[in-house]
Each structure stands twice: as C-alpha cells, then as structure tokens.
C-alpha cells in the first residue's frame, strides 16, 4: 500500500497501523495513549491483529505457549496466501526455533544455543573489532558517511557470515534478501517468499557442501549435531541458517543505527559516551536496547484465549509489542527519557520466555563493539540533513538512511 492509499487512523484502539509513517517514525505517543485507554488494542488492518502495550501483558502473552503459537503459520504479522504455504515455509522447518512451538522448539533451540552463549561468541569479538575499524577507515577521511548504510548495515551480515562460515563476498546479497523478507517483504508476502526461497536455496547448497567437506564453522557444527542420537535433518539446518540471517541481521543493524541516530541528535549523551567507562557502556547499551527496541514479533492464537478483558479467537494474530512494553511507566521510571546510566532495566527487547532471542549475546557484543569502536575513532559527530533520514518499521524498526557529519 502506498502512502496516498493509506486511510488515516481515526482511533488507535480499533484501527492502529504499525506501518503508518508517523508510527514508524515515533511510535511512543501511540503506545502511551493506548496503555491508558485500551491496553490491548485491535486493528482490522493487514488481516487483523491484537496489540498489547503494557509490560505485564506482553510478558504474560509471551508465555502463553502454545496457545499463542509461533508455528502456525508463523511469527510474521501478514500471513502469506494459502497457495504459498508449504512445509518449508512454516513450522519448524522454516526457521526453527523461532517458527516452532514445543516440542520442536525445545530440541532445535537446544541444538542452537550452545553456539551463542557469552563464551561461545567470544571469537566473533575480535573479528568485529577489526571489521568496525576497517569500515571506519573507508569513510572517516571523507568527513561524512551514512551511519546506517556505510556502517550499521555492514556489521551484522559480516559477523554472522563469519560465524556461519559462508562467503563474505555475498554480503550484499544477504542484505538484499533479508530486506526482501523483513522490510519490503513484510507487507508483500510474495516478495517475502521469493527472497526466502533465495536464502533457502543458498543454504541448501552450503549444507550439502559441509556434509561432504566439513569445516570449522557453525553450519558444519549443526551438520554434526545429534539430538537423541539422530542427526538434525537438512531441512531443519537450512531453516536454522535462514534464522541466523533473517533474525540476526537487520534487527542488530537497526539497533546500531538507532544508537548512532540518538548520539547524532543528543549532544549531551554523545559527549558523555566519549569518556564512558565499562560500567557506563553496559548500562548505556541496555538503555539503547530498551528505548529503541527494534523487534516486534507476532503470534497466532490456535485456541480461544481470554485474557485482560479480550477474547482471542483461533486464527487471530497477536503482536508481541516488546518495544511498547519497554516504555511502560509501571515498570520504568521516566520511560520516555533515555537515561544512559539507568540502573534498574528489566527490558524485554530480546523478548521473554522460551523464545528469548537466541542471538542476544552476539547482538549485544556487536552493539558494544560497533559503538565503542565508533566512539574511539569518531567521538565528535552530528546528524547531517535531518530530512534525509528514513526509518523502517513494522516488525523491525530502525533507521535506513542516516547522514552523519564527522567532526
């Protein structure tokens, strides 16, 4: 739908629009209004969905498993038409464990988690430091850059490509495929499935190659993983690799980009981080994750669920509004102010319950390394043309064009 076709939102409580340009730019006022007036709102747009805005409700609904399902048809807000649904495009084959309910969710998650613990992701730290320095070398002398395109967007695809063990020269393809799934493809299921197929075909070849010639990388490790004495099926491994790419790339680049946007437009905070110690970096990254939480997941009711005065019927979509929950004044003092040294920060930017982001340790490391490296090289910077800034939104929110003036 183009902007000119978009109907104005008259009542957020019954007609919210997560793709509305004003909501994408700044969703905070909408959440505040809804939290007071109608804490679990509903819309008929995009096939219909429910959206909680209170922390307590989002926490509770994230734990309604499996009645609010991740598997059927999947955690994306707009479902593909029936004729496009097949076994590799939904359920645990699609992108386990994020597209699965227990028991498939449990065993696929157990296969993946050992590769993403704080200790397991340590090798990616030095890789990321070198990468961030190399990227900065590419634009620092020019005196300006696009913080989203030239920096934030370049980091997660390369880190995950390194971890998976796939060809770094394909990074531009990865970026295009992932945007085709989660950004442009979010409101265009056919485009999403086309890009999803490109990703699956790419990883199908990689899995075949690793089965024949094992290497020291994550795809090989997954090929060698056994669950209850049986090797993981290829389709499940392909789905897991799909997950790494789709869930691990534009989410993290959105967080890095939002952080750069924040510091480019908040001079006091920028100056403070230029001299920050480890403790301040720790709280600042958590606060940036809370304030600019990029990810909104979706669930599908598979039975009638009554909760908080509403009735979710089978087939209803529910948005896991983690970003909105993270601005709830019941849980966060002064929630709409970014407080770099916020000490109590029980945010759920990575979700809650059994679907907690499996890559959260990697994402946090990438945020820390990318921002600390940036500040060590570029402590002084401001926003270029503010009118040139664009944001993507819907289920992953972050800047996509971000002109930065260095110095």
């Amino acid at each position: 739908m183009t902007d000119t076709e978009r109907c104005p939102v008259d009542d957020l409580a019954t007609d919210y629009d997560i793709f509305d340009p004003d909501y994408v730019r700044d969703p905070v006022p909408a959440w505040a209004e809804l939290r007071d007036r109608c804490p679990i709102a509903h819309t008929e747009r995009y096939g219909g969905s429910w959206m909680p805005t209170r922390y307590e409700d989002v926490q509770a609904m994230a734990k309604m498993v499996p009645e609010l399902s991740s598997a059927n048809p999947g955690p994306i807000v707009i479902d593909p038409p029936n004729e496009f649904r097949d076994q590799n495009r939904q359920g645990y084959n699609a992108a386990a464990p994020i597209t699965a309910d227990p028991p498939e969710q449990s065993w696929t998650r157990k296969a993946l988690l050992p590769h993403f613990t704080p200790k397991a992701i340590a090798p990616e730290r030095s890789y990321s430091e070198q990468l961030c320095n190399d990227l900065i070398d590419g634009f620092v002398d020019a005196g300006s850059c696009d913080g989203a395109v030239d920096y934030a967007q370049q980091i997660p695809p390369r880190v995950i490509a390194s971890k998976l063990g796939v060809d770094q020269s394909r990074v531009d393809d990865f970026i295009g495929w992932v945007r085709g799934v989660l950004e442009f493809g979010l409101t265009d299921p056919e485009l999403r499935l086309k890009n999803s197929d490109l990703i699956r075909n790419f990883f199908a070849e990689e899995v075949t190659a690793r089965r024949a010639n094992p290497r020291d990388d994550l795809i090989t490790a997954l090929c060698q993983t056994e669950v209850d004495g049986r090797a993981l099926p290829d389709e499940v491994i392909i789905g897991m690799c799909n997950l790494q790419l789709v869930a691990g790339i534009d989410t993290t680049w959105s967080s890095i980009g939002s952080a750069l946007w924040h510091f480019a437009t908040h001079d006091d905070d920028r100056r403070r981080m230029a001299d920050a110690d480890d403790a301040l970096w720790d709280t600042a990254i958590e606060e940036l994750l809370r304030f600019y939480s990029p990810v909104t997941m979706a669930r599908n009711a598979i039975e009638t669920v009554e909760y908080g005065g509403i009735t979710m019927e089978p087939g209803d979509k529910v948005l896991m509004n983690f970003p909105g929950a993270n601005h709830d004044p019941e849980v966060f003092d002064d929630p709409d102010t970014l407080i770099l040294d916020r000490q109590r920060n029980r945010h759920i930017a990575f979700g809650a319950g059994i679907h907690r982001c499996a890559g959260s340790n990697l994402a946090r490391m990438e945020m820390e390394v990318s921002l600390r490296t940036w500040f060590s090289r570029i402590p002084e910077f401001t926003l270029g043309d503010p009118d040139a800034v664009t944001w993507a939104g819907g289920q992953v929110r972050g800047p996509r064009i971000l002109p930065i003036v260095i110095g």
């Binding site: 157990k110 988690l113 050992p114 993403f116 613990t117 704080p118 200790k119 720790d282 958590e286 000490q343 109590r344 920060n345 029980r346 945010h347 759920i348 990575f350 809650a352 319950g353 059994i354 907690r356 959260s360 340790n361 946090r364």
Partner: protein, 65 residues
Amino acid sequence: MKIRVDRVKCEGHSRCYALAPELVDVDDLGNAFELNDGIVPVGLEERAQLMVDNCPEYAVEIVEG
C-alpha cells in the same frame, strides 16, 4: 546475603552474568546458575541487587539477608 537463580524461570538473557560474573556462571545452553551456593561475598551486595533488578524473567532473587 545469598542469591538464587530459578532454573525454571531462567531463559538465558545473561544479564546477571554480565553484571556479576563473580556470583553466577552460565551453562552450555547459556542459562545461569549461582556460584558458591549463592553466597554473596561482602562488598558485592549492591551488584547482587542489580542482578535481581535487571533480570527480564524475574529469575534471580535474594533469599537471605
């Protein structure tokens, strides 16, 4: 002071481990468990409280003190 990590509630966010690696460690799946029977050495009480206040799953609690 003593802390306890509820192994059922823990989902591996690792915030406690980031805030106080002297008090907790994480297992092969990234889920936290308390070190030294959860006993908090003198001087680390404040960080124990931070672990409690930053757990998204409400899985860390102070059980004594």
